[in-house]
């Protein structure tokens, strides 16, 4: 395989599914790389439709979990490829797996499942989430390709709890890691991953879409609080609702709007009901970007009180729109918002502290508040724009 390309590099990105509209990060990244002359191929485990409006080549992994005949067919194709199309890579992959102490049955499975990747001629094989690299740790080496893995939050903090030692092999490999925040870098080093293999590239937003409107600097009677979040326990929404119940007891008028959908809807609505604040909370469900921007314009505080958060794109958007932001100290949020400089950081799982901070900010001198939000707008525009992100990814691959 000739890997003597000049600046043009072939990059394969592995994801579980085609990035949707909300996963702007991946779409931005693909466009940015292509604009700089790189070839991008996207590998996904499944794809529901054929039209994704993607500017790059898309390869869908063969299915091995559906009906018997389809499975049989795909196994046969993979076996033929293994013997006659990619015999060299397959043998190397098998040997590497064996060296890692993987059981025979799993070695064969890996060989069959990973065939669609073993035939590729790439410079980089980049797994979009940590868990996507499990059982594929040796694909890159077998194909003489560089390997990169992104950690996004959930996969770094929660997956190891769910699947013990899931990254044991991965962390022993020659891999470049991409994480979203310094905190994530710290966490990764606790697994004895060498610091110079960990690259922090924070998320970015399209700053032209999220421009700060001219907000009237005034203390409004009703607090319009906004939170954009999946309805999932990691987002700490039950603590947020508890904080709201404290505001209610303190007779502070507020309206909390939560944009997003998810499995915990029943739990959260019931919590709001029990706290007696159901009339003060609106669960909008998922909204379009235009609708989201409208909410960002009309609210006067943004809160992200997560238990675990890789970085938090929505907080960047809220800051860019000039909204005062209160966040928890979960992982990347502390880097997203600089306490007392571009917003406020409150210890997580502490609804009393959160309620106090909301009240403080509600009554904060408008000029002081304005100084903070202006600093936030400036910082997001300077440090978290797409150009910066694209430049950092180019450096990452050219490294």
């Amino acid at each position: 395989m000739n890997k003597q390309h000049s600046d043009t590099k072939k990059i394969g990105i592995v994801l579980s599914s085609v990035p949707g509209y909300s996963e702007t990060f991946f779409r931005n990244k693909i466009k940015g790389l292509q604009n700089n002359g790189m070839e991008v191929t996207l590998f996904v485990d499944e794809s529901q439709t054929t039209s994704h409006n993607l500017p790059c080549e898309l390869i869908v992994a063969p299915k091995f979990n559906s009906g018997f005949f389809l499975k049989l067919k795909n196994v046969c194709i993979a076996a033929i490829k293994c013997c006659f199309v990619n015999p060299k890579q397959s043998l190397k992959h098998y040997k590497l797996d064996k060296k890692d102490g993987i059981a025979f049955k799993q070695r064969i499975k890996n060989l069959i499942f990973n065939q669609y990747l073993l035939g590729q001629d790439l410079d980089w094989l980049h797994f979009g989430y940590g868990m996507l690299a499990t059982n594929r740790e040796n694909v890159a080496e077998a194909t003489n390709t560089k390997m990169a893995v992104s950690f996004r939050g959930f996969d770094l903090y929660l997956s190891p709890l769910k699947h013990q030692n899931c990254y044991k092999i991965l962390f022993s490999k020659n891999v470049e890691f991409h994480v979203l925040s310094e905190k994530m870098k710290q966490r990764l080093t606790t697994y004895h991953v060498s610091e110079n293999r960990i690259h922090v590239i924070t998320p970015a937003i399209d700053t032209s879409l999220f421009e700060s409107p001219n907000r009237k600097v005034e203390t409004r009677k009703t607090l319009d609080i906004l939170c954009i979040s999946r309805l999932h326990w990691v987002k700490g929404l039950h603590y947020l609702l508890e904080a709201m119940s404290i505001l209610k007891k303190d007779e502070i008028n507020f309206k909390l709007t939560i944009i997003g959908d998810g499995e915990e809807k029943e739990r959260l609505i019931f919590a709001a009901h029990q706290y007696g604040i159901l009339d003060d909370v609106v669960f909008t469900g998922k909204l379009t970007q235009t609708e989201v921007i409208q909410h960002l314009k009309t609210s006067n505080v943004y809160i992200q009180y997560s238990i675990q958060e890789g970085f938090g794109n929505a907080v960047l958007e809220a800051q860019a729109m000039g909204l005062p932001c209160i966040v928890s100290d979960a992982d990347g949020l502390q880097q997203n918002v600089l306490h007392n400089k571009t917003g406020w950081v409150v210890p997580k799982r502490n609804p009393i502290a959160l309620a106090k901070k909301i009240i403080d900010i509600h009554f904060l001198d408008p000029e002081k508040r304005d100084a903070i939000t202006s600093a936030a707008v400036k910082r997001v525009n300077n440090d978290f724009n797409l150009n910066n992100q694209n430049r950092l990814f180019l450096e990452f691959y050219r490294n």
């Binding site: 769910k162 029943e266 019931f270």
Partner: protein, 390 residues
Amino acid sequence: MNRKLKIAIYSGEIPSTTFIERLIEGLSAKGCEIVLFGILKKKVNYKNNAVNIKGYRLNRINKALYLLYYTLLLTLFKNKEKHQLDQLLKAEGRFSLYDRVKCYPVLWYMPDIFHIQWAKGLNEWVWVKDFGIKLVLSLRGAHINYSPVADKHLAEMYKTYFPEVDAFHAVSKAIAIEAEKYNANPEKVKVVYSGLDLRDFNNSEIEISNRSKTFNVISIGRPHWIKGYAYALDAFKLLKDQEFQFTYTIVGGLNLELKYQMVELGLDNYITVEKHIPFDEVQKLLKASDLLLLSSNEEGVANVVLEAMAFEKLVLTTNCGGMEEVVVDGENGFVVPIRNARAMANKIVEISKLSEDQKKEITSNALRTIQQEHTEELMVNGMFELYQSL
């Protein structure tokens, strides 16, 4: 009514929950004929042969044969009624094979009373009234307490069909009041508490938990958000910070949320988690603990609290649902507000400081509460009266 009552107890699955199984045994012993419909999960043997199991196994062949059998019987001997039912099902757009698998056997056996255990399925059974069958609905748990709060369609369904129900069985007074929001006629609601067979609770061998300084707390229940374990863990974090010495056993397993919380709060060395252990093992763990904690956000009346009280164990419950109808703070157990980790932590410390005499007084009161209000006999008689009143 002198004739033997024929009662269908329907929970969707056979066997059902402990409470329902005890009810089935008790009613059959009282001379009622019981018919059980639904999915046959495993073979069950009832002491009394007045219990007729008419369930079906959940595989295609079995379901097909089952449907064929009842279709044939109805066509041959109750064709008019079958036609009427078919028309009703068609009108409601529920004429699938599965709907017929569920409904045909009920029409064939024609019980006097059809008793549904879970309200969410009510709309599927209102048709029985057209055939003179009385409809009884149990008001229990999530189906009444929180699902209709979040699900407006469900709330509307309840409001439409609750007036059709001939009698309601409420597991607590609190849930009876809750059901009134969905048009349940309070005159048709009868509160019948869950009851225990006290012979199962032999207190002579009660193991006194260790007398060291460590206070041992136990919770029993699946790791669902409704159980409020997130607040319990926050409470134990507060206790850990106060250097209060404790152990906490959770029987029922942890989900990812709780596992993450436990590790993040540094509680992993204080907490023991048991997942699937046999009932007698659970009882042993309960006996060896100082306190049973029910941290739930909502409950009807939690059986596990009744059982702990029958074992003369101290209990601490939140004031959710019907719990305060059983536990009176400081008399036969302890009560804290729901969703309040701080109050829970403070109360645990308070309980740990009780003298042995004070503990004894409370646990004796607890046992008396169970003997007076939560025996199987009372439960079965209560339900029997409810059926007879129809």
